[in-house]
């Protein structure tokens, strides 16, 4: 059985710790707020000889992901971390990493995108990259950030998957707040993640292969995309089984969604990331007043758990989806579009409303979540749902 140690630590600090325990062969990274302390602390582990790793200091995130791709194709276990503009600068490489089926694991410290310049939390960075073919996990807490990092390695390297995995944690709220975290001993983590046995490694000179090949002019590009779809669909079962195995090791439950109060809830809030804690706190107060409210937290964003979402929200009188990013010109935020689509096949229609909140780190006060639950109670009682999406807490004209 593993040895557990409880720390007071930031999300970034335990992501760096998890990276060290997963023993990557190569880390190529570039610092960017609010991710910087991940790679800073990991670099310190390398400098102090606490892990044997080729740490590549690059001149940009474009180069960071390029170096990760090269190293992964060579056959190395590769990890990195980024945020916001850094993720945006990695754009083309994100698609190359997934298209080349390279099991790179990357932490992303969710932060707003410019302009205006802003360094605080929202999910615009990852939501823009949602179609890049990466398996994507979300953490609410530093604990989940630690756990997700370790599980990511197993998911990425599973022979049925072989896709890059992004492990997201909310900028500053989770990356920099000191939280209570239970970490396990090195040996247990090493045993859990195992050794990486690469397929088609470029450094396997006895079996020379070519990576990054051309597939145009009527070639099978279309077939390769179908392979990627199959791989990410395969990841659903792999995520569940890795999660079960990790739960047994850690003693902490894991599933693709986490529900609170959904056994008899009449209305619910669907949320990703750190705001789930705020939502549960408000829901707990409302429960004390006899209100049947629930919270659904999405832990796995890609592949999107549409069946689990539909099962959790079936029969509800009203549902609110909280989006911490915009999809300008779409009917709502990215999470809203997914959730409402997941509910479409239900025989009975569930009213769903969308709130955009917390962009650029704007404060997610409990009163705002209370307002959402009040709106839901009104809709459940027959009131009209707010027309269109609501900018929750934005200053309004008097």
């Amino acid at each position: 059985m593993p040895e557990h140690k409880t720390l007071a630590a930031t999300g970034n600090s335990v992501v760096a710790e998890a990276m060290r325990q997963c023993k990557p062969d190569v880390v190529a990274a570039y610092p960017i707020t609010p991710q910087t302390t991940i790679v800073e602390e990991f670099a310190a582990f390398v400098a102090k000889g606490k892990t044997h790793c080729e740490y590549v200091t690059v001149e940009s995130e474009h180069s960071a992901m390029s170096a990760c791709i090269g190293a992964s194709a060579a056959g190395a276990r590769v990890m990195t971390a980024t945020a916001s503009q850094g993720l945006a600068l990695m754009w083309e490489e994100l698609y190359i990493a997934s298209g080349m089926r390279l099991p790179i694991v990357m932490a992303n410290a969710n932060r707003a995108l410019s302009a205006p310049i802003n360094i605080h939390c929202d999910h615009s960075d990852i939501m823009g990259a949602r179609d890049a073919g990466w398996v994507t996990l979300f953490a609410e807490t530093a604990q989940e950030a630690y756990d997700n990092t370790i599980m990511s390695v197993r998911i990425a390297e599973h022979p049925d998957v072989l896709l890059p995995v992004m492990s997201c944690l909310d900028g500053f709220i989770t990356t920099h707040s000191i939280d209570r975290v239970s970490v396990m001993d090195d040996e247990s983590i090493a045993g859990f993640v195992g050794d990486y046995e690469p397929q088609n490694a470029l450094l396997d000179t006895d079996n020379p292969v070519a990576h990054g090949n051309f597939s145009g002019l009527g070639g099978p590009y279309f077939e390769f995309k179908k392979q990627q779809r199959e791989a990410i669909e395969n990841s659903r079962a792999v995520i569940k089984s890795v999660g079960e195995e990790y739960s047994a090791l850690s003693g902490r439950p894991f599933d693709v969604i986490e529900t609170w109060g959904m056994e008899d809830a009449e209305v619910a809030v669907v949320v990703i990331g750190s705001t789930a804690g705020n939502a549960r706190t408000v829901a707990r107060h409302l429960r004390a007043d006899g209100k049947k409210v629930g919270v659904v937290k999405v832990r796995v964003w890609r592949p999107f758990p549409y069946a689990e979402i539909a099962a959790a929200l079936k029969g509800l009188k009203a549902v609110a989806v909280l989006d911490r990013s915009e999809s300008f010109g779409a009917e709502g935020g990215p999470l809203f579009l997914e959730v409402r689509s997941a509910l479409y096949d239900l025989a009975e229609r569930v009213p769903v409303v969308n709130y955009i909140y917390g962009l650029g780190g704007s404060d997610v006060k409990l009163e705002l979540i209370e307002q959402v639950f009040t709106d839901l109670a009104d809709i459940a009682a027959g009131a009209a749902a707010p027309a269109g999406l609501v900018y929750l807490g934005a200053r309004e004209e008097a």
């Binding site: 298209g99 079996n207 070519a210 990576h211 090949n213 597939s215 099978p220 390769f224 392979q227």
Partner: protein, 106 residues
């Protein structure tokens, strides 16, 4: 050949190695690309001084040499770029219009 691609045009997504990896080295030799050519090099043995400049500059290693002498062009892979004709100091190579008459051309 370790990797039989003769039926590749019939393959489904389950048959291709993941990620468009080519699991065998050097097999581009079997991929006939001469059909991309619109002009074909024709060498005059009488004019040719065997300086081998065409062999040096050919970007597709399609100038075939035996016993240090140019003997032919590899028309399965020559793209007809005409660099050989351009550099030939004695104008021994002419570029002539090509018809798509090669067997096995894709």
């Amino acid at each position: 050949m370790k990797w039989d691609i003769s039926q590749m045009s019939e393959w489904t997504y389950k048959d291709f190695p993941p990620a468009a990896v080519i699991p065998e080295a050097g097999n581009s030799h079997y991929y006939i690309t001469g059909g991309w050519r619109s002009e074909r090099p024709v060498r005059s043995d009488e004019k040719c001084t065997q300086c081998l400049l065409c062999w040096i500059v050919c970007p597709d290693t399609s100038v075939m040499v035996a016993d240090e002498k140019v003997v032919d062009f590899d028309l399965d892979h020559c793209k007809g770029c005409g660099i050989c004709a351009q550099v030939c100091p004695v104008d021994a190579i002419d570029m002539v219009p090509e018809g798509c008459d090669l067997p096995g051309v894709k």
